[in-house]
């Protein structure tokens, strides 16, 4: 192990995500946000619109949840009228449906099909263009983006996922310049979840439902008691400057307590649970468990779970050339450990069976990720469960390997 590390310059490897310090407010894992600085504010729905305008006025391009084609997906937002007001979702393995809520909540749903990685780690990216000029060839790398992106409505699990991608994409010897350029300019407005989805298990992964770090501003939507307001916590200089610009008042103790109760209620109503403290040992000591064969009979190897996973970061590169041989481009696109090409080496694919590919994905996500990056690769967002076309449930697979049923699962 030592020799292997030395080859890649272990002394130069920065073990913590480089953006950790940017957003880390030193909040202990168990502390409630309400205790940070003791400075919580309350803003109205109109105040939230003012916040969005202030963000846009600072040159950010704002993205947030929008209602499109019977799903809640992230897209450009101009005003808070673009948010899915009064909508919620119903999720289960292989199933997602929208429903009307009885109230006018702006963030009254759990995470949808897409994660923020579609912006920070684009599905397709041209890396360089080469052109032939007679006997000479010129190569022009793709310029790093200069956009300032503001993400509105980022859930705690997604912040955790972004931190995990930070570790993989900029936290080591090889830095992805495109990701880095977007990431270091990005503004994050978090939303603490007011309800847990049926496939959510962030509490099990200690990734939510409350955003404890990694944001500029965090909101908790309060709808109880007839008024519709947001408890606001500003955690960075940018966040505090924005808050100062918009109409707000000091939060009352009752509002702070209500927000704590909302988060506690969400944490205790997770649709899924997964004991996570021993997964590395559990999975790595069960690499020949018969459950891998069983799940392989259901797994489609379609790669959906990896595409929707907010931490999966694998890509492939494809070179394209024109007919005349005058111009070539190299493109990077999302790839998946579920494809045969992913493990193709001379002579064939290393992981030819569905069993080996599902096992590779799950053991990496939950076990070897810890050895590689120092944390689990799973944030408990539940997307791989909901968006698996045949509803394969990672929490159920872990339980099967553990050899116990749902009722025997330890509480989170």
């Amino acid at each position: 192990m030592g020799a292997g590390k030395a080859l890649i310059g272990a002394d130069k490897i920065q073990r913590r995500p480089i953006y950790f310090d940017l957003h880390d407010k030193g909040v202990g894992q168990e502390r409630m946000a309400a205790q940070v600085d003791g400075a919580m504010a309350t803003v109205t729905v109109e105040g939230l619109q003012a916040l969005l305008q202030a963000i846009q006025a600072r040159g950010y391009r704002a993205f947030g949840p929008t209602l499109q084609n019977q799903a809640i997906v992230y897209d450009d937002i101009d005003s808070i009228d673009d948010l899915p007001r009064g909508w919620t979702d119903e999720q289960d393995g292989g199933r997602y449906r929208l429903l009307r809520r009885a109230d006018e909540a702006l963030f009254g749903y759990s995470v949808g099909p897409q994660s923020w990685k579609k912006y920070l780690h684009a599905p397709k990216l041209r890396l360089w263009t080469a052109e032939r000029h007679g006997e000479d060839v010129s190569v022009a790398p793709e310029a790093s983006p200069s956009d300032r992106l503001a993400f509105i409505g980022v859930r705690a699990c997604e912040i955790r996922a972004i931190e995990i991608q930070d570790r993989a994409l900029v936290g080591d010897l090889y830095v992805d310049p495109h990701y880095k350029a977007l990431r270091e300019r990005a503004l994050i407005v978090a939303v603490n979840c007011g309800q847990a989805g049926n496939t959510c298990f962030c509490a099990s992964m200690h990734a939510g439902p409350q955003a404890k770090q990694g944001f500029d501003i965090a909101l908790t939507e309060l709808l109880d008691g007839g008024e519709h307001v947001f408890l606001v916590e500003a955690a960075s200089d940018e966040g505090r400057a924005l808050l100062a610009q918009i109409p707000h008042r000091a939060a009352s103790n009752r509002e702070i307590e209500t927000a704590e109760a909302v988060i506690e209620r969400t944490a205790s109503s997770m649709g899924r649970k997964m004991r996570s403290d021993d997964l590395n040992e559990l999975l790595m000591s069960n690499l020949e468990h018969p459950r891998w064969d069983e799940v392989a009979t259901r797994c489609l190897t379609c790669a959906n779970c990896t595409m929707v996973c907010p931490t999966c970061f694998c890509t492939s590169v494809e070179d394209v050339s024109d007919l005349a041989g005058e111009r070539a481009e190299r493109w990077r696109r999302w790839d998946s450990c579920f494809t045969m090409d992913f493990s193709y080496i001379h002579g064939g694919s290393v992981r030819a069976s569905a069993k080996s590919r599902y096992r590779q994905w799950m053991t990496h996500k939950l076990a070897t990720w810890i050895d590689q990056f120092g944390s689990s690769g799973c944030v408990g967002c539940g997307r791989c469960i909901t968006w698996c076309p045949v509803g394969i449930d990672i929490t159920e697979e872990v339980r099967a390997i553990r050899g116990c049923d749902a009722s025997a699962e330890e509480p989170r």
């Binding site: 292989g94 007919l323 579920f338 076309p389």
Partner: protein, 258 residues
């Protein structure tokens, strides 16, 4: 142009001509293609032909007659590089439905004088008759992928035509999964990519035009489609379209053929 251009031939077997039309549909690239290759044999475009041998043969259509079975042997001998284009040439096409039935019965129903019809009992892919260097999927093929295959041939590299599921294309395009999100039956998870996920982009389920993906698990998908309301007859038919004779689809349809 003083350098020798590779000679291109386009051949038709049992097919609808749609894949050959995809070559004519290249429009903007067509002149560039004509600049890089000598279009030596392409009856759909011109009756003027140049004799073989040919550097690149594009073969459309399936083998359904004894004459075709002999002709493809001759074409193979004349071709340095042979590429099949489309579902017919690659898996037998929709006309391979005859493989599940008695072709004499079909002929009796369709033709006034079935005794004039000389045909084989089956429709088969070109690769069942001769060595094929590359198979381009689709019904019809994508012009983008056809240009890619020709460009790759000219550059001496492997074409970029990933064999994974259509789902990857959907996700890269940002499409909502119509099966999970709408409950619409979709063959995307077992279907070879290449079309750019056209049908799901318009909220339709995938029809499987590109045939089976690299490692299809059709029985698992069928179990889920059954939960979405498809009965055994519907499951049999959903795999019996343009790639009915592709092995994974054929086996799965037969499993639901009681």
């Amino acid at each position: 142009m003083d350098r020798a251009r590779p000679k291109l031939a386009v051949w038709k077997f049992a097919s609808c001509d749609g894949c050959q039309l995809s070559l004519l549909d290249c429009e903007d690239e067509l002149l560039a293609i004509a600049g890089e290759v000598e279009i030596a044999y392409f009856l759909e475009a011109t009756r003027a032909t140049v004799e073989g041998p040919y550097d690149l043969s594009l073969v459309e259509g399936s083998v359904t007659t004894a004459h075709d079975a002999a002709r493809i042997q001759d074409i193979r001998k004349q071709s340095r590089f042979l590429v099949t284009i489309g579902a017919c040439a690659t898996s037998g096409g929709v006309q391979a439905l005859r493989n599940f039935a008695d072709v004499r019965e079909y002929a009796a129903i369709v033709y006034a004088r079935p005794d004039y019809i000389q045909t084989l009992a089956t429709s088969t892919a070109i690769a069942e008759h001769v060595k094929v260097d590359f198979e381009l999927r689709g019904c019809p093929i994508s012009t983008r992928q056809l240009v890619e295959v020709i460009s790759a041939f000219l550059a001496g590299r492997k074409p970029q035509t990933p064999p994974h599921s259509v789902c990857v294309e959907c996700k890269i395009a940002g499409n909502l999964c119509v099966m999970v999100g709408h409950g619409t039956p979709c063959l995307g998870p077992v279907t070879h990519a290449g079309c750019g996920a056209i049908c799901p982009s318009y909220n339709r389920g995938c029809y499987g035009c590109y045939g089976p993906m690299e490692t299809p698990n059709a029985p698992s998908l069928s179990a889920w489609l059954s939960k979405l309301g498809m009965d055994e007859d519907a499951l049999k038919r959903v795999y019996r379209t343009f790639n009915a004779n592709a092995e994974a689809f054929r086996k799965e349809s037969e499993r639901h053929d009681r």
